[in-house]
């Protein structure tokens, strides 16, 4: 009997193969239905070239038992992706880099007489800090006619990028409601008039949406159209998409959460140094292999972990802060830091079929170490989450916790309470410890110099 294999939720649609997990290791099964295209991918040299350019996840063929009793062609062991993120958790620049990587992959594939048969943003991940295709079975032999993945590319990339760039950065969250990309008629409606006049957006969103509406029932006529799309037209389409996306600027403006930006700036240099030193000591004590920094802002403290070679995810709800963090990460070539847009008070849900295609945050954990720096007062006072519930959830997310307690006398808590009634009599360090000691065992504590704050290191019970 074959050892137990758990098929991964989001990979049931593809007859060419699927992903499964066995003994904590992720494998990809290539079915007989996908054998010809997979073999061509390898034999044509396309896989080798894409891997060498950092555009495709490397893999090796292994002699692992298939997940199904029949129909298997190969079992692949892909390089590990430290954290699977989703397009609705990416900032503008992350989605833009993912789009440009997809187009570059398609362009290289054409050189090898192959093509992407889907252009899902979910096929891209950021291992080693770079947008990388992780679905090795996305390729097929180039078929005559238009690009079968064009609609998906426009809905997954062009539409959300255009809306984020020209309307509002928060519209990237539309991808959370629309798992197969933003419908083009919706994007066309939301696009500002000036943006509709831009050639690429007018063509790939507005004109495309109209064509979908007008010609959507003419399936029987496709054969005639197939011959009207040459290889030059294909290259022209890719270049039009590439230049249109490359010309989109990152959204600008000040978000309603922009006071989060200032969170670190009100520290004195001495306090910031003290906090960094204590955090560094705690990280070295725990020696985690994964760190999640919740409320990371632009990732200043997350970098203490990533600089030690620890795979670190920096979550923040402000898309501008996350974009800044990503651009800095990319510029530094930091391979271990992944900034993501994430609201802990309304986290990514399980979405798709049976709510199981895309995972919640908790399902992607737990992390070895969770950082909750300057966060607890936002949850307990800013969002009325009782301290025991904060402790319960953080214990679900991480095996260890570094948490900063911010007392009511702190300038930031006073600011939070300035416009509301103080209905938080139990918000104190004593009650904080009482709530957290139910789930965690305190290991160390360090006062943050020149402030009234304290950093605690705890281990989950």
């Amino acid at each position: 009997m074959a050892p137990r294999a758990d098929v991964v939720g989001g990979s049931f649609r593809d007859p060419a193969g699927f992903v499964f997990r066995r003994g904590g290791i992720l494998y990809r099964q290539v079915n007989q239905a996908g054998a010809e295209d997979y073999d061509r991918l390898i034999e044509s040299g396309l896989a080798h070239e894409l891997v060498a350019r950092g555009l495709l996840i490397p893999h090796e063929e292994v002699a692992e038992e298939p997940a199904t009793s029949s129909g298997a062609h190969r079992i692949l062991l892909p390089d590990e992706v430290p954290f699977f993120s989703y397009p609705y958790e990416w900032s503008f620049s992350q989605l833009k880099d993912a789009a440009l990587a997809t187009l570059e992959i398609q362009s290289v594939a054409l050189d090898h007489d192959m093509s992407l048969r889907d252009a899902s943003a979910y096929n891209i991940q950021f291992p080693r800090g770079r947008a990388t295709l992780v679905d090795t079975l996305s390729f097929e032999r180039r078929r005559e006619g238009p690009w079968v993945a064009y609609r998906q590319f426009c809905s997954h990339f062009v539409a959300p990028l255009a809306l984020m760039s020209t309307r509002d950065a928060r519209l990237g969250l539309l991808l959370r409601d629309h798992i197969d990309g933003v419908p083009l008629d919706l994007a066309s409606t939301l696009l500002p008039r000036r943006a509709r006049m831009r050639p690429a957006l007018g063509l790939h969103i507005v004109g495309h949406a109209r064509s979908q509406r007008r010609h959507g029932s003419e399936g029987e006529r496709l054969k005639g159209y197939r011959e009207r799309f040459s290889s030059r037209a294909f290259r022209g389409l890719l270049e039009s998409l590439r230049s249109g996306i490359a010309s989109l600027d990152a959204p600008s403006g000040v978000s309603v959460w922009s006071d989060y930006y200032d969170e670190a700036t009100h520290y004195t240099p001495e306090a910031a140094f003290s906090k960094e030193a204590a955090l560094g000591t705690f990280i070295d004590l725990v020696r985690p292999s994964t760190v999640w920094d919740l409320g990371a802002n632009t990732g200043r403290f997350s970098r203490l972990a990533s600089a030690r070679g620890i795979d670190t995810v920096a979550f923040d709800l402000d898309p501008f802060a996350v974009d800044t963090a990503y651009l800095e990460t990319r510029a530094r070539g930091d391979e271990h830091l992944l900034p993501l847009v994430f609201d802990l008070t309304n986290p990514s849900p399980g979405i798709g079929w049976a709510n199981a295609e895309r995972m919640t945050l908790a399902e992607r954990g737990p992390a070895d170490l969770v950082l909750a720096l300057a966060l607890v007062h936002h949850l307990a006072i800013g969002n009325n989450v009782p301290l025991p519930m904060v402790a319960d959830h953080l214990a679900e997310l991480g095996r260890h916790l570094v948490i900063e307690f911010v007392p009511k006398t702190d300038e930031k808590v006073r600011a939070l309470l300035s416009s509301r009634e103080d209905i938080f009599p139990s918000y104190s360090q004593v009650e904080f410890l009482r709530a957290f000691e139910r789930c965690f065992e305190p290991i160390r504590r360090e006062p943050v110099a020149s402030s009234e704050r304290t950093l605690f290191l705890m281990r989950r019970r």
């Binding site: 079968v148 004109g207 007008r214 399936g219 037209a233």
Partner: protein, 83 residues
């Protein structure tokens, strides 16, 4: 008129053609079919736009090389004169 403005006009005319050139659908609508047909309709235009872009880059490259060569030649002659 700049190339970009010309391109906008051509694209808008294409959009108008795509929008009104064929009868509207009333039955079951598959967005994939509309996307497929749309590519076929605009494919020729995009192939032409790419050819123009490549051609333009070649001209710019040629002029830049010529300018660079003549500047180098000028600098050489000045240097020769200084000797």
């Amino acid at each position: 008129m700049r190339d970009r403005d010309r391109l906008v006009i051509v694209l808008l005319l294409t959009l108008a053609f795509v929008s009104v050139g064929l009868p509207a659908a009333h039955a079951y609508v598959d967005p994939g079919t509309g996307s497929f047909i749309f590519q076929a309709l605009v494919g020729g235009l995009l192939a032409g736009a790419l050819a123009l872009k490549v051609f333009w880059r070649r001209i710019v490259g040629w002029v830049t090389r010529r300018g660079g060569a003549s500047q180098t030649a000028t600098r050489s002659s000045v240097a020769d004169h200084d000797k």
